[in-house]
Symmetry: none
Subunit: 167 residues, 2 copies
DNA sequence: ACTGTATGAATGAATG
DNA sequence: CATTCATTCATACAGT
């Protein structure tokens, strides 16, 4: 066991609570929230506010990183599905527009494939598409009003975090 | 053979390509580069982007670790003297070369700073060329513009990575 | 089979 | 927020 106390080494319970909070939608807790969270988690062992701060920072970054890296791997798979689906809705408005706009060559395939997820005209490159998709996904989530009362299953006080963004 | 697919175990070819890339100066590939590399390496067997990412991360860290350990073990005593003496030879041939080669703003500073931390005397066993390489390599490479076309000797498509930092 | 080493993987802690 | 570094855990493999 790392008794090396030079570095915080979260207990299983602490990780669970943090993960639950993350899964429930919390991404970048405010200072107040961090305080509350670390305060509650100190029940399970030593912990500082900065640990909580870093944890969310890292967890978010790495989820994003993971997703970004998966893109190329996933793509070949989705490509087939999308292509198939494409045949059934090839008469939709968006597709029509794009198809004619980008009737350039093999690039058309990629664009159309993209449109299933994101019907915008400005996506001539895949990377841009992906960027936009990721951005939107996370933007939605990160800026959503978050209201959650987490009741961990262990014997510790309820962790009640209420936010009101857009004050 | 570890058919245990719980952990990536690179093929000899994969390791060779990665090593060549590393030796050619690549240290921290960008996400795009990682994608390309892993894509190319998938030719030799299963591989994910994260494997490439971790490979470079580990390889760099361990080379640094090894060197650090070596320096500390070899010359823990003379270190201070050497550092002082170093100030008197700051106009030596090597420094001149470096400074002029990198007459680009603070890059030169950093190189000299680096050299002060790693006294030349402690590595008399190496040739001058090797000394220079050991001292400058790490700091230089990571901040250098990297443009490299690696043609592996096996039968796989050319791996062409072109960067333009400082765009 | 046991043990040590190389190295894949993960993550806490920053930094800019 | 992205990127990077340090440290540690985990495991495949080699030598005995």
């Amino acid at each position: 066991m790392g008794t090396k106390c030079g570095r915080w080494n979260p207990t299983a319970e602490q990780v669970k609570v943090l993960t639950d909070l993350f899964r429930s939608g919390l991404r970048t807790p405010t200072t107040d929230q961090i305080q509350k969270i670390s305060s509650q988690l100190s029940f399970y062992g030593n912990i500082e506010s900065k640990n909580v701060f870093y944890w969310f920072q890292n967890h978010k970054a790495r989820e994003r990183q993971k997703r970004r890296r998966k893109v190329l791997v996933d793509e070949p798979i989705n490509h087939i599905e999308d292509t198939i689906q494409l045949n059934n809705v090839s008469s939709s408005k968006h597709f029509q527009e794009i198809s004619t706009t980008n009737r350039e060559s093999d690039q058309a395939d990629r664009v159309i494939e993209t449109l299933q997820l994101f019907p915008l005209h400005s996506l001539s490159e895949y990377s841009d598409t992906e960027k936009l998709r990721l951005f939107t996904e996370e933007y939605m989530r990160d800026n959503m009003t978050f209201s959650c009362t987490l009741e961990a299953e262990m014997d510790h006080p309820t962790l009640d975090l209420r936010l009101s963004f857009f004050s």
